[in-house]
Amino acid sequence: MDQPNFANINHSRVSFDDGLALDCGVTLRRLDVAFRTYGSLNAEHSNAVLVCHALTGDQYLAERHPVTGKDGWWQSVVGPGLPIDTDRFFVICANVLGGCMGSTGPCSPRDDTDLAEPPPWGTDFPPITIRDMVRAQKRLIDHLGIARLLAVVGGSIGGMQVLEWAVTYPEAVFAAVPIACAAKHSAQNIAFNEVGRQALYGDPDWHGGRYWETGRVPARGLAVARMVAHITYLSEQALMRKFGRRLRGTQAESPFQDVFEVESYLRHQGGSFVRRFDANSYLTITRAVDWFDLAAEYDGDLAAAFRGTRTRFCIISFSSDWLFPTEENRAIARALNQAAANVSFVEIATDKGHDAFLLDEPDFHRALAGFLAGCAEHAGLAE
């Protein structure tokens, strides 16, 4: 497939010329953070809510997406009168470091050469961590003049960023809502990520990661990576309910055609993904997620990471999520209890799997809205 044009979109962003020092020891000389905001910041700068997006999400959470033309990925959660109420809160979402929607990442021009027109980083982009992503977001928050966020909210690897925020900048986080996530990436999840990466490497258009030189992208590999990942976002019940064993119209005559409806659904998911996502970004971010282990620096004692925290936490899991099962979320809640932190924890009953945090789940939305309203009250935010 030819190069999609998502890299040419003019995203609103802020540039930091003093760069960013990464966990790996490399310092990016220049840091771009692309972001969107919704609602307005009050005079005290006390009503800001940062939303951290998931692996393949981006900053366009509550508006038409400039590439796909579809609604924002959290259109049902962020807006006037919605659980994250933009009539009350100033909502910020930034494209993660390593992403491909305007923030510094593998698509950005290298900053370590003297060439007039440096090539993109590609696979040479330094390895990053979830904490590096959070550091980049902190630069944005400082730039916006916000000393303390009322809340940091995110699902999946967005939830990992929320946890990292609470541990790295505890004074800047009044409340934290990690949703459907874990304090470390499990071996099973690393394994799924690796299948996706191997699909990319195996694509003839991968071209050693320098695919921009050919003007083509490893679309098949990226689509397969997305298809595998997408299965982990759903549940067996959700797939049965949506597709069952239904066939696609007439019986296919060749095994290379889609026979079952679920197959064409997955192919569609894979196909539309490659039009909005960069393969090197996919590698960079999945690797960052694999490295994530919040307790690693505390000899495996997760409670030690949270000791002394004054942040209010609300942990939310979904009963049919097998990518980040309730037990992983409960382990976070338990560690917070050990640290005597203020923690709410609820499992929402749903058969929609991990993706439930993106879908219409009334109990989830009520809990999120109620928790944020309670936090606003405790923080002394005017109604």
Partner: protein
């Protein structure tokens, strides 16, 4: 604020009688853990009227969802297994209202309560009430009263006890009973403060404040 605006807030008069009595025993500004907190009524009340840092544990997920939706910090958990996670002395008061008789290991739960809290506030329906005794004596069947309102095979109350039983447990565990009271059918404090035997006969519910001796 006009009464028609905003969500309805919990007010004391709508609260269960034992919760109201418990709230009266808690010093303002305390750190409180409410075990079996339901939809968070007591937590909300303690925050609003006493400025307490009150939190809860609840086993019923639907109640947890309701509590969080009301803005109360509540986590899904089980008194029998989840109290061990909290550090020593994390709370000034640990509350167990009308839940003691439903836990698997009441003695272990009490021990945990007094490890993680300075004081324990425990309320329970009194199985020594005269009506319970009378029904068992007269009909020879498990009693059913407004308080003990489920048949024996359906009840979650697997460890019923009497006021006298509870005094005995506190003595054998070495807990100091700092305050106690019994409440009659009408929700009035019973006047038998000095006579535990009478309280055990006429008290429908009991409330104890304990401390590690």
């Amino acid at each position: 604020m006009n009464a028609t605006q905003g969500p309805v807030r919990y007010v004391a008069k709508n609260m269960r009688v034992d919760l109201r009595l418990i709230a009266e025993m808690i010093a303002p500004g305390s750190r409180v853990l409410d075990i079996g907190c339901g939809d968070g009524t007591l937590i909300d009340h303690l925050f609003r009227t006493r400025g307490c840092d009150a939190r809860g544990i609840e086993i019923d997920m639907a109640e947890v969802t309701r509590a969080i939706a009301h803005g109360a910090p509540v986590m899904h958990g089980d008194a029998d297994t989840d109290l061990t996670q909290y550090p020593d002395g994390a709370f000034d008061y640990v509350v167990l209202s009308r839940t003691l008789q439903a836990v698997e290991r009441p003695r272990a739960v009490l021990r945990q309560m007094l490890r993680i809290g300075e004081r324990a506030l425990v309320s329970f329906p009194n199985f020594g009430h005269w009506r319970v005794r009378w029904q068992l004596l007269w009909s020879g069947q498990m009693p059913m009263t407004p308080v003990w309102d489920r048949p024996w095979h359906e009840t979650p109350n697997i460890h019923p006890c009497t006021i006298r039983d509870f005094f005995a447990l506190c003595a054998s565990e070495g807990y100091a009973v700092e305050k106690w009271l019994a409440v009659d059918e009408a929700g009035q404090r019973s006047p038998w403060r000095r006579f535990p035997g009478l309280a055990n006969l006429f008290g429908e519910q009991a409330l104890f404040q304990l401390r590690r001796a």
